[in-house]
Symmetry: D3
Subunit: 304 residues, 6 copies
């Protein structure tokens, strides 16, 4: 029997405590200090020798620093003789840099996978932008989905007049996964270029007139995609009553304030990324703590 140890990096401590609370396991004490020269000092205050360790650390911005924290914790565990180290990384920075568009570019997601694999034995991820990123790791990747959770969370707010909208072609598959649960029609927006002219127009496939759209995506970063979608939808006569559902609420800079100024009833995200402090309407957060707790329990089960 190997003891389970739960550790938290600094990227999302609140999530780690929520997971621990569901599991009845407190995150173990550790020092996570920023030295005056901005080097991190990490120290575990628990003996992890022979333990099955789970480190909660989504690699949210600043990615470099949160990656260092994760790896320093993992190195500390390795050297102290941990039996297995699992990274709980519900938000995976650089996931969208999964290919080279031009030949002088890196494949950043693979680079992170390689660096993580120098110390981790397994990772748990959530709604990767491209599920093939799993193949960047040779270590096991437990790829979870936030869709069931978010779909149930948004259901009470549906009015009977809703329509799921994918804001671009990349989100169509995701929209259909929501449709399977919520039994709603799907529309989507795409950019089209007419023959002979080099002009791009945004076009909506599906009947949106008079509908209250629920825009779904894997993440909301600056909010730019949402804004464009909203404009297009309003032009086509949809109701000024938008709902946004996304797994990762990155909401960089003043994205939330901008979105709040639009006719958006609700923005629903998970806590894979810590929500802006003191956030309020229209942002709602559904916690993935129970999903992660259950996953950790399942992964630990054979070692009990």
């Amino acid at each position: 029997m190997k003891k389970l140890v739960l550790l938290s990096g600094g990227a999302n401590e609140a999530l780690a405590w929520r997971i621990g609370s569901v599991m009845g396991v407190e995150p173990s004490e550790r020092t996570l200090e920023d030295f005056p020269d901005h080097e991190l000092h990490v120290e575990l205050h628990v003996d992890v020798g022979g333990c099955d360790v789970y480190i909660v650390q989504p690699t949210t911005p600043p990615v470099g620093s949160h990656l260092m924290e994760l790896m320093l914790l993992a190195d500390g565990c390795t050297r102290a003789g941990a039996a297995r180290i699992t990274g709980i990384i519900p938000y995976f920075g650089y996931a969208r840099q999964d290919r080279r568009v031009r030949s002088g570019e890196p494949v950043a997601a693979r680079l992170l996978a390689d660096m993580m694999s120098t110390r981790l034995n397994q990772v748990v991820m959530l709604d990767l932008h491209n599920p093939a990123v799993e193949g960047f790791f040779s270590i096991p990747v437990e790829h979870l989905s936030g869709v069931p959770l978010l779909a149930e969370a948004i259901r009470p707010a549906l009015t009977g007049n809703n329509l799921l909208v994918a804001p671009d072609l990349g989100a169509v598959k995701l929209a259909h996964r929501y449709a399977d649960v919520l039994d709603l029609p799907v529309a989507y927006i795409h950019k089209e270029r007419l023959s002979g002219v080099k002009v791009t127009t945004r076009r909506v496939i599906g009947q949106v007139k008079g509908k209250a759209p629920v825009v779904v995506d894997d993440m909301v970063s600056t909010g730019g995609t949402i804004r464009s979608a909203l404009e297009t939808l309003l032009d086509l006569g949809c109701l000024p009553d938008l709902t946004v559902v996304a797994t990762h609420g990155l909401l960089v800079g003043d994205a939330l304030a901008h979105l709040a100024s639009m006719p958006i009833r609700k923005i629903l995200v998970t806590d894979s990324v810590p929500p802006p402090p003191g956030h309020k309407q229209p942002l709602h957060v559904a916690s993935i703590a129970a999903l992660l707790a259950e996953t950790i329990k399942r992964l630990h089960e054979p070692y009990r």
Copy 2:
């Protein structure tokens, strides 16, 4: 200065000779023998010590056997002291198995990448179904596109009444790459499910009536996708004058015969996969030999 050596596996010898002919370099002699116990016997009849070796071997079916040939050749090169070994793999078997849909599945494309990386130093690929598969390799992947070549090859056959058609959402990006070169409008087919009922209907986005459709995809395997697309397009009033353009003409079993029985004017593919012997109308093959020859020259250049 490192000598360039061109080697061919058994998967597509004609292509290797065509490449060699463009480069003015003959594929080196090697034995490739099937022993009575169905083990392959490989032997190089060229001294590759210190050479820059290029092995032409798309991993066409049977993939296992063609992979073995490639790896045996590469092992022979390694042990004989080759300086660098590049796999020229314009068709990459298992490329579509790039993620786990269910948790008991493998990620076959990553497995192949790992096995190849035990002996190869670099690979050259063509129109991967998912470009992120590049990230499955830690060795450099030169990812080429057959689009410019195929677009030019199909241009003379265009009638002024054509329309590019993506047969499913996965092919939309590809269709737009053709549109950029050929300056044609793009339509695409997608499956839609109406609210409340679990029935799927095929729907076409774009004006197809009276048009001569050019269906583009990365590969034609059994031809099933083409058949469905054709039926849908005819239902919507397009002309019974279809053109099919795809990089990889796998054409398994009697796929070609089936397609030949439909109102298809032309099927244009490259020779990444050897075309069926004695093929004729409507199949046309545009060779990638010059593209690969130029790539090999470019990769070899710094070692000259």
Copy 3:
């Protein structure tokens, strides 16, 4: 305690079921499907997370395809979090390609060892042609012998007038291992070249006249070695009453029919390779299922 899981590839399912039957463990359900494009689709229908998995898959011809099956199953197990994966490979294809005779050749057996080691943690093998092949693996190799089993299986058929015969020098050590159990004299055949002339003659060392020979070898492939041995032995006056004992009954093509047409009383092999369907006299098959079952139990013991 780690759960034991038994899986079977497609190379020898009957053997896997026999092993399972001895152990009281049913091989777990898995899909093993040949797609229309001849790519294999593999899926486990058992949760192997934290399990001690044994995959039964001799790499019989076609080796490439059976290797792919083995590796796809192993990749599926790795990604699903298996604790340890052992390949049960009683017949190891390419085992005889264990050295370079000429400098342009590969060392195929080492190549397979390297490819297998990308996903397996341990292998179980049986009567390797050259026991040093164990050293091609850095993972543990459990090297079993079928000699005790085959010797006991042939004993009742001995007439008191028998003689063990090694058909070439490579089989002499094996013949002596049979002699240790059966207490029979050993003769062997070798090729000799006389001084001054470049003619090879086959010569038998040992008294064979009037004896009923039992030819022993590690495998019977085309049957050519047996035929030559028989001719030489008959020339020297041995009885036209041959017995053949070999661990691996590869029997490619119509080898069995050819052998059946000779004065051969019995051909005894194990089921490391599936015997030809509907085989009958003179082929007899002794099962290694109990030997493998016991080995699996022993290897699993410390994890119970």
Copy 4:
């Protein structure tokens, strides 16, 4: 002949341009962009295929982010087929975390070495705090010294009444290396604990009274060590005329302002770390550009 390519990360672009200026080679164009979600986007605008690439990137704070930049550039080079990639890392963040003081700590310097080794083939370092850190890398480490350069730079400022001072025991070896060049006596400060009482006192070994001390260390971070040394030295009657010489002028926060308020005539550092913008008295910077340029030329020489 392999072409030399000089690349600069964002940590110290001025240094890269100075190196390039000495060598007559301009740093190649590359994009280094901070996306709105704080992910870095890197792109090379030079074809590095077959080239011998040198990336100038000291891992100054924020280390995580500068490490990411370095690794993304290196990944881009690897994928584009660079023949060899050398990291020019004159300041190596986390170099002082080279051992575990307590069992729950990581060995951060080894972690960085491992992450760097996933993409770099060689590194160039300068005055490592512990030279054994070289052994953390399996790739070649060219370990340079800034002592000759700094000694010559400080020589004109010497008054004939100077004394070298090591501010702690760890700097004694370094002080002697300066003494070898400048032919000055060495004194050093150490902490002593008297028997029976748990009180630490700072003590100076060497005659400092009436002398103008030159304090030497590998780096100046917050300036705390310098301040303590100065207090101790003044107490013992040295002249209020201090000179500070250190390879790495990290000078975090308002360290420089604090130091400027003390009786310090001159602080001499190299440009391994970019000096504070608009810095002036008493900070003087001696450039290592010529040293690095000469090292790069020497390393590149055999590939010309």
Copy 5:
């Protein structure tokens, strides 16, 4: 639960038996034979399949041969399926070759770390000359200290007039660790070079006159350092009553006889290296068996 197995190489069998005696576990039987061609033949007579194995083998001179023994034992364990292999290496040969002083030198300690890491999963070390050597290993290093043990062993011999002496700057930190336990003042010897002349003089920092010095170091090899220290101390008026405390009593050649001829009351070392046979005054040996036994128990604990 994994069974604990204790194995001994030939470098220090007595220590292995002492450890076993404390633990109530006998070292397992194994053959360790020197063949006539001076190749070692190793064979385990215990089934280590699935076991947690501890191999006691300090790499004392001749290092090459003792390293081979260690690695052959570890290879035997690996191939027999051991679950984890820990090297108990209280004396680590080549530990002082931890950096390159000149560019044509190796970093021998890293080389040994790499060779050991091909078969070991973990090592236990004692009072490494440079604690950073831990970072040469990627496998966990349990770094123990003999200071508490040696301090207690020397305490009864203290007279109230003692002083700890570090014979060079490298030993100052160690001396302070003894001072913390024994509450004694610390003096140390260093080499100083006066300005203007290239003459080195040995100088002592601290009041040694009339004191009985206790010289502490990590190891005593030829005894040369001790002799020089003694001469310097006597010159300064310390009592001719020296005590020497060191973790590793290598005592090569006739070092012990030489030391015995000096006014040395006691030389205290541990049994990390086997003491010279039949040694007597002034050599005293404090055993680390209990410390190692306790460490092994702690490391094994999570696998019980």
Copy 6:
């Protein structure tokens, strides 16, 4: 163009100088010192940056120490930036430990291969006992044969009445390789066990009466095999005029003196192992220097 550097370890310096003399290249200066604590100190006095380095070091007894020398030299070369490092290892210690006979044994030859592969890029070997040992290395192995050389060296001594003799079954293939060159008949000795009794008798296959036997083997170690062969041959009436030919003249202890006391006309070996100092009749040594020089030139050729 990469410069060729020839280095010699201490195992066979005379051979290295002979190779250098044939090539017109002097072995580079290096220090190879035995410290008082029996640790080796190695230092290169040549700049090997970017060079193609060949290190001559057969791993003769004491293997551990000679292996350390080889690896320390190779580590020094690696860290100094050598482009490629080839080990010239004409005698490979532990080559006969190439399999496990019992389950508690190591596979020593694979262990050495793994340790060597941590620093070497290629090895050159000579007449390996089992050629499959090549497969223990993943780096290229150039496997040479001393047979042509030794056959020519012995030819003048042949009397027209000679017969090649393999002293055991393992040497039969080797004997036939000599027969191909010298056109002599082959006899061989084997151990036979008669049915019913557990007594082994030595038996000779071939007509030896009145012949002058030339016993061939891969190595002569203690001379025991030669002695037994001689006794058996004399019993069967061969002339008391023996010649012995072997690639490796290990001749441990007083083996040479023992052999000199027998009716042996000549013992012919190569200088793969340094012959006993001041050796005389009947030992003759044929140098492999020219063979190795030519091999080094061939391997270096593509880098010129």
